[in-house]
Amino acid sequence: MEQCHVRAGVAISMRESKLNGLLFLLGVLLAWELATRAELVNPLVVPPLSRILVIFSDLLGSGQIPMQILVSMKRALVGYLLAALVFIPLGILMGLYDRLYRSLEVVVEMLRPIPPPVVIPVALLFFGLEDTMKIFVIFFSCAWPILLNALDGVRHIDRVLLHTAQTFGLARGKILWQVILPASSPQIITGLRVSLPIMLILVVISEMVGSTDGIGYFILDSQRRFKVAQMYAGMLALAILGYGLNLLFNWLCNLLLPWQAGMTRRTE
């Protein structure tokens, strides 16, 4: 963040930058409000911001939005955690044992290029409109980033680290727990972090295509009923959800692996 920056114009401090950003944001929001009220933009397609916010707080208060989000999150998290539970160990094993990696490599490379949403019809076939369908889709979609990052993390452990453990006479099993796992955890976390938006995207898609509830369905349904402001309110909720999940994830990371946070900050 320091000297390596290409800058045109005067140097701007962080605070000034944030201020500019906020002002700009406010300006955009204001323009939105005015443009829609003045009917420069068709208010049937883009309602005034104030209306959206009013509807949003209504839906929030009535519990509608929180409920839909809860429904979606339940499915999403189950799929996500299942994928983590299965594919982190698998990735680690594949990273440790080249034979295993080679055996599974072809299967992985065959399944990987399948765009995750395309799996939804298959899941529909097997599970209908149940929650299981969405859980399966999310499980499949989050698999690859989690697997490949865990695999990579283990493979790229510096040999010096392993030799260090060996020179202290550590037995193989202990090396796994005390050295390999901690050393590969940054990369494993990266896999989990990358999968988070994927999880969110897929739960929304699977709800749009095959569901009768959930935030994704809510947004689409609102559109179909031409409850436009409600639709935008749903999207706002989704954006906040995404943002919140990110914050939660980072907070958890810092809590469980405090040593990492400082490290990555330094190397940036």
Partner: protein, 259 residues
């Protein structure tokens, strides 16, 4: 990237064994066949569909939408990204807006797009552009911001004009990061196109696959999926081909560093 390795016999063997198990398992259980037809049946169906021609039209539709969306978003994102990456003031303005919009899954934009553009090619291409722009934009901004000051100064000391600096210093220096973004955006574009096709029920492979599922034509559905996977694979390979030619210097550099 694994081309230089010797043929992975074990891997292919396992794959073949799994396919065999699939075939046998499917054939031996009529109930399972409804959900998971035998591999042979899927492949035969795929062949029939290709010959009949209908599926090829779907493929072409999907491909056309993909190309339009991807190329346009790439051009837009790189241009915008360079501007935002280079001009600190512009970036400071937009930074917060970007941080707000990023966490929202781009697929949520589909209902809005339907509202604005109805159902049809325009809408699908539009959402594709929206979604595919993000990775490239973020990466371009990042790539340009991280360019060493020294590099720019070197250009200036050789009297490069603004435009020359852009083409000869900034873009090349940021290109590895930009290319990474372009690779991510490739998968995203395909995902959005197929998703939009599923949601709004127009033509295209996404629609085809969902449609076959609704009609309980398992084999045809899987055939469609195989085709999409092949499409994705082919697009990836083409991208890698371009990338290895264009980015030879960068790949060599990282290869050297990892020694």
């Amino acid at each position: 990237m694994n081309g230089s390795r010797d043929f992975n016999r074990r891997g292919w063997l396992l794959f073949a064994v799994l396919l065999l198990l699939w075939e046998i398992g499917s054939r031996s259980s009529p109930k399972l066949q409804l959900y998971l037809p035998p591999v042979s049946q899927i492949l035969i169906t795929l062949g029939d569909l290709l010959r009949a021609g209908e599926i090829v039209k779907h493929l072409a539709t999907t491909l056309a939408r993909f190309v339009e969306g991807y190329i346009f978003s790439a051009a837009l994102a790189v241009t915008l990204g360079v501007l935002l990456g280079y001009f600190r003031f512009a970036h400071s303005l937009v930074e917060i807006v970007i941080e707000f919009l990023r966490p929202m899954p781009s697929v949520a934009i589909i209902p809005v797009a339907v509202l604005m553009l109805g159902i049809g090619d325009a809408m699908i291409v539009a959402v594709t552009i929206y979604a595919s722009t993000w990775p490239v934009l973020i990466n371009t901004i990042d790539g340009v911001r991280r360019i060493e000051r020294t590099l720019i100064d070197t250009g200036r000391t050789f009297g490069l004009s603004g435009r020359q600096t852009l083409w000869r210093v900034i873009l090349p220096a940021a290109s590895p990061t930009i290319v990474t973004g372009l690779r991510v955006s490739l998968s995203i574009a395909l995902i959005l196109v197929t998703t939009a096709e599923m949601v709004i029920g127009s033509r295209g492979l996404g629609f085809f696959i969902l449609d076959q599922e609704r009609s309980m034509n398992g084999a045809a559905m899987y055939a469609g999926i195989v085709l999409v996977a092949l499409l994705g694979y082919a697009l990836n390979r083409i991208f890698l081909m371009f990338e290895s030619r264009a980015m030879r210097w960068s790949n060599a550099m990282s290869a050297r560093e990892s020694l």
